[in-house]
Amino acid sequence: MAPIIEMRNITKSYRGVPAVKNVDFTLEKGEIHALLGENGAGKSTLTKIIAGVVEASSGEMKHQGQTVSYGTPFEALSHGIAMVFQETSLVPSMTVAQNIYLGEEKFLNRLRGIYISAQQFLQSLNFTVDPTATVATLGAAKRQMVEIARAVHHKADVIIFDEPTATLTPEEKRHFFALMRRLKSSGVSIIFITHALEEALAHATRISILRDGELVASGKASEFDRDKVVRAMVGRNLTNEIYNRKRTAETIRKRGAQVLSVRDISMGSMVRNTSFSIFERQITGIFGLIGSGRTETFKVVSGINKRDFLRGGEIEFDGRPVRYTVPAEAVRDGIVYVTEDRKLEGFFETMSIAENFYSGVLAAGLEKHSIISFREMRAIAADWSKRLDVKAINSNARVVELSGGNQQKVVIGKGLAQKPRLVIFDEPTRGVDVGAIAEIHQFINQLADDGLAVVVISSYLPEIMNLSDRILVCRQGRVVEEVSPLEASEEKIMFAAVH
């Protein structure tokens, strides 16, 4: 029988950088096909091509034997392909029932009728969600349920789930997998992206593994075990010039004094009783998959998020208990968080490089004059542009006009202009070209050599292994293991991150 989806030589490039490369992928009728890979391996891109969210740069896709190229998700949906996104795509101001029936409204609708049928439908899926609740009031797990219900409701013959279980409780997961099996037995084909290897091994019919945009393994789930999956996920070629630094006991920096002590902090379901220490004169690498709470933990440390009101744990900075309510307090104490989402949180894109650097100085209250001094601003901009080698026409250039690597350097410079004691880099080289990665790494190393406490959060294992003097691995909202770079291997770290 011909596969329901057949992809040949699919490539998708973003500005010349391939996210998926020459991937051949098939989806049989009535199978659950798990798609595995590290963050950025190309799983989401591949499924987005199937669902019509993005178009492939080259290659051929056949749906039920017909060569197709869906331009929009609506077009794909009308042909029976539904995708449940990682980031929920519901309309927050509408009710659950309205969201489920969105796009299928009749000419005249009776709200009560929609609510009743939505209630029956949700009950049939064993999802305990109130159909009259506004989506904005729901938590992440319930939104995920509505998203899943909507895909099922469209009676699609192909449903793509992107990390569906990340926010579900064990009980909800049980219902979800029962639903998936029910859909499978009714002939629906399912693509299922997950980081939880147990889920893939337990529930999938077939498993495909992507690495750096390429399909590295594909076969029946029974042919895989956990070790084989992990090996395939991380077994990349490490000959890349940036990441081939040999770590020896001599190249690992000795611990300085303890700067930060975090004990049992909790924040909702994302950070759960995590404890760790950070020392000066050292780079501490934080590794974890998406949803492991690593970013959220350090956002709590730097005052961006607040820990739980009651029993939220304790944070000590320099031996002093702290509870920051706004980031400015943390900045004044010397904690700087360099964000992973630079476009949204990192810089003022319409302002100049100089203004961005100076905004960091202002935030830390380090300006020399009570009114803004353009001379001081220019001096600071010249200093940091030189130190970080920011490539721009001059310091009046707007940040939005710079390349990703130079934008990141501006974000880093803005943070470091605040004269911190603890610098937290969250995905410092995401979306940065190779040349800039080497420069940023060199700069991060220099900071630790200068005596600062440095934290590098990354989901790219070679980066963690190359930079860190000690590695902390996060899973399910807490630090679960500390690994020395001398004993670290990609398999060992990944094992700690997924088990």
Binding site: S261, R263, D264, S275, S277, R311, E316, E482
Partner: protein, 345 residues
């Protein structure tokens, strides 16, 4: 925020356990250490320049010699040897034997140390004997004190009071400070040599600190039991604890212990509950083996662990002799030896 202290009152105080990371990162170096001797409840290690001396029950032994050096009328709880070879022994009865003299007036001598001609005495508690330390902990007591005794005249002066079970003491060689471990406050603290205000030098240890001894590069700190959330919780619940102390035999209390019991009556055995063949990861351990090396500023440098499933728990004393750490595992009934170079990290 200025309202934080007020809000913190409503937020309640979190029960937090410091993480074992950095220099305290768990390993199995203590578990894998070379066994020098299997003896019953070894404690109070000291070196007289020729051999290692240790206490086992009422008797004082030389390492490797079966016959005891001396026996006393009560369990030996503290020991010190001066550079001139003078011996000081603390007993569970409260007596401190110094040369041929018996010093009385102490209730719980937990540690002794010579500072010049003087003897420093840690009196762990005014209420209980040293062997009954768990009652002091469960009673939330802080009645310990540190004394300076003139070894020749026998006069004494109190240097600090109101301490939560001082359990180890060392006089700094260079400066005029006395550093001691305060077990129930999980810290190392310091006082001026002639007494005065107590300040922390190493707070928030993840275990109960015990004896501290100097080494050429710093200090060795023995920690005899781990902090865990369950015990900390019990310590907060006054009614529950009062009932437990009243109704249950002390060895079954939810409290720290030097050794993992193997009785089926104890619900939490050896740091783990096995149910249907699965070791439950959440089950707290009541005993642990931990030895920490400190630098001259009392910052942890490296550590040696016998973990929840290990044998050499309840480390109460350790000394460095000829490049080796000699460790007394009171809970594990063994004296161990570790090459001092192994712990470099």
């Amino acid at each position: 925020m200025i309202f934080d202290p007020i809000l913190d009152f409503f937020r309640g105080k979190a029960v937090t356990i410091p993480p074992m990371d950095g220099a305290l990162k768990p390993n199995t170096l203590l578990e894998d250490a070379k066994i020098l001797a299997n003896v019953a409840r070894p404690d109070c290690l000291a070196y007289d320049g020729a051999s290692v001396i240790y206490a086992s029950g009422n008797a004082l032994h030389r390492l490797g010699v079966e016959e005891p050096v001396n026996t006393y009328g009560s369990v030996i709880t503290a020991l010190a040897i001066s550079p001139r070879g003078q011996l000081a022994v603390g007993l569970n009865s409260g007596a401190v034997m110094l040369g041929g003299e018996t010093l009385t007036g102490f209730t719980c001598p937990t540690a002794l140390c010579f500072a010049g001609d003087d003897l420093l005495v840690c009196n762990g508690s005014e209420n209980v004997a040293a062997e009954n330390w768990v009652t002091d902990l469960m009673g939330h007591k802080a009645s310990g004190s540190i004394w300076r005794v003139d070894a020749t005249a026998g006069s004494r002066v109190c240097l600090a009071r109101g301490l939560a079970y001082p359990n180890g003491v060392v006089a700094e060689a260079q400066s005029k400070r006395i550093v001691f471990s305060e077990s129930w406050r999980h810290r190392l603290a310091v006082i001026p040599a002639n007494g005065g205000a107590v300040t922390s030098v190493l707070p928030r240890l993840p275990a109960y600190p015990c004896r501290i001894t100097p080494t050429p590069s710093g200090y060795l700190l023995a920690l005899f039991a781990p902090l865990n959330r369950l015990v900390e919780f019990v310590l907060q619940e006054d009614d529950y604890r009062a009932d437990m102390l009243r109704e249950i035999e002390s060895r079954y209390w939810i409290a720290p212990t030097l050794t993992a019991a193997h009785s089926f009556l104890e619900p939490l055995q050896n740091g783990g509950v096995k149910s249907m063949g699965v070791h439950k990861p959440w089950s707290p351990t009541r005993s642990y083996g931990l030895l920490v090396t400190l630098d001259a500023d009392f910052r942890p440098v490296s550590s040696f662990h016998s973990r929840a499933n290990g044998r050499y728990h309840g480390v109460t004393s350790a000394i460095e002799v000829a490049g080796n750490y000699i460790v007394a595992s009171k809970g594990g009934n063994a004296i161990l030896s570790i090459d001092a170079r192994v712990g470099e990290s």
